[in-house]
Symmetry: C7
Subunit: 95 residues, 7 copies
Amino acid sequence: MKIKPLFDRVLLKLSTQENRTESGFMLPETAPNKPEIALVVAVGDGTNLDGKEIKMKVKVGDKVLFNRYNADEVKFDDTVYYILREIDILGVMDD
Amino acid sequence: MKIKPLFDRVLLKLSTQENRTESGFMLPETAPNKPEIALVVAVGDGTNLDGKEIKMKVKVGDKVLFNRYNADEVKFDDTVYYILREIDILGVMDD
Amino acid sequence: MKIKPLFDRVLLKLSTQENRTESGFMLPETAPNKPEIALVVAVGDGTNLDGKEIKMKVKVGDKVLFNRYNADEVKFDDTVYYILREIDILGVMDD
Amino acid sequence: MKIKPLFDRVLLKLSTQENRTESGFMLPETAPNKPEIALVVAVGDGTNLDGKEIKMKVKVGDKVLFNRYNADEVKFDDTVYYILREIDILGVMDD
Amino acid sequence: MKIKPLFDRVLLKLSTQENRTESGFMLPETAPNKPEIALVVAVGDGTNLDGKEIKMKVKVGDKVLFNRYNADEVKFDDTVYYILREIDILGVMDD
Amino acid sequence: MKIKPLFDRVLLKLSTQENRTESGFMLPETAPNKPEIALVVAVGDGTNLDGKEIKMKVKVGDKVLFNRYNADEVKFDDTVYYILREIDILGVMDD
Amino acid sequence: MKIKPLFDRVLLKLSTQENRTESGFMLPETAPNKPEIALVVAVGDGTNLDGKEIKMKVKVGDKVLFNRYNADEVKFDDTVYYILREIDILGVMDD
């Protein structure tokens, strides 16, 4: 069973190892309200409230920077997921 | 007697067993303000305030993820129902 | 003398017996800020602020679900009435 | 000297006898923040901020239901007047 | 040196004698946050943020009713002026 | 090195002598949150968020009336500058 | 690994030496909530929520004036970065 986000929402899977990368990127884990990195695991179809479909920018597999307080948190098989609107994703990590 | 939601609202039926699935999905029942799973039992026609009809994305029978604090709660025959706008539904559970 | 609601407003007549139906529907009377059932006794013409007329969805005689805190309360001959915008009506009771 | 309301505003004259009618209508005078009945004594031309003129729904002589906290209060020759936007008038009393 | 208001703003000159007229109009001088009468001494060109020019309704010489808390106050040669958006002017005094 | 304001912003240079003019204009220097006069030293191109270019009303050299709490303050070579949106400028001083 | 800002966001690299320039520009380092200078290191494509692409005004290499409280802060290899919407950048430093 999987979650299919509605409208322009994105489902993110938080993973602590995402916060340390080969090139040394490290997000402050103890600081509250700081952006974190997570993996995109599902995206909505981008439809807005007027029924217009807007192309989503992020895709499954992207690593993105986001703020936890802009997202709803759900747990599944001991993994933490976040659901948020794409507009609230700050940026995509570019390998 | 049934409730027919108006505009882009959706009527949800909360059921505690929905929060445990075969694949092990389990939402934290004790955490407040966390998303929950519920069953769609009725949907509005999607009309917005300008009289334009927007196709609803969810349908009766869908299991959806939503936040209780975005919904109005009503009780009927000892069952708890929630009414909320479709835009406030986070995602659809995909079997 | 009657009240004719303006714009997209609806006039509701609250009646305690509406909250118990043949099929057993019962709204929690003691809980504050919970939806209640009321009878539509008058509706506005649906005109919005731009002068555009939008067809009203509810009609006189409908039993509707609404939240008291979204409405203005007036008393007439010992009966309590509520005036609210149609968009704030949660749903229509379907016999 | 008279007050000509601007835009979509309406000038109301509050009169205590308006709150008792032949059919017995009585608004709770002691309750704060409850709707009251007043007489329309002047209306604006309905122009909105984009310069578009929208037809006003109420006219001089109408008795209307309104909330005092949505209006600005002025006194003239010991009479209390209220100025408010037409959209904030709840309804028109229909004799 | 004079002040030319920008956009849809209006410059008002407050004068205590404006609050007593031949017909006896008197605004409560001691009540805070009550409308006052002032003289229009300059008006903007009415342009809005999209560059569209909307015709101003008030003109130099008009006596208008306004609320001090919706306006910015400046002093010039011991006279108090107020600058506010035209939409915040409640009405024009009609002799 | 100079600051080029973005969008519809304007850069102002505050100068205490601007607040006393030949004709005697004097703004209350001790009162907080009162409008002040400043010199326009740079203006943005007026583009709005939709990419549409709106003609700016003020130009370099204008003396304008503005409120400090609507502006961002920067210091350069012991001079205080303010950056604010043009819509927040109350008026232009007309010699 | 680099951060690619989404929508109309801009990635800034804060550097303390940016706050002192040859011409003597100095921003108050101890004052909170005052604008600071930073280097643009990446820009989004400018797409807005309706899918319309708006040309970005700032480019990589620009020195810009911004307010820290309008931005999200991330750390990478001991450098502080800020992500904010372009509309929240006050101005571009012009050499």
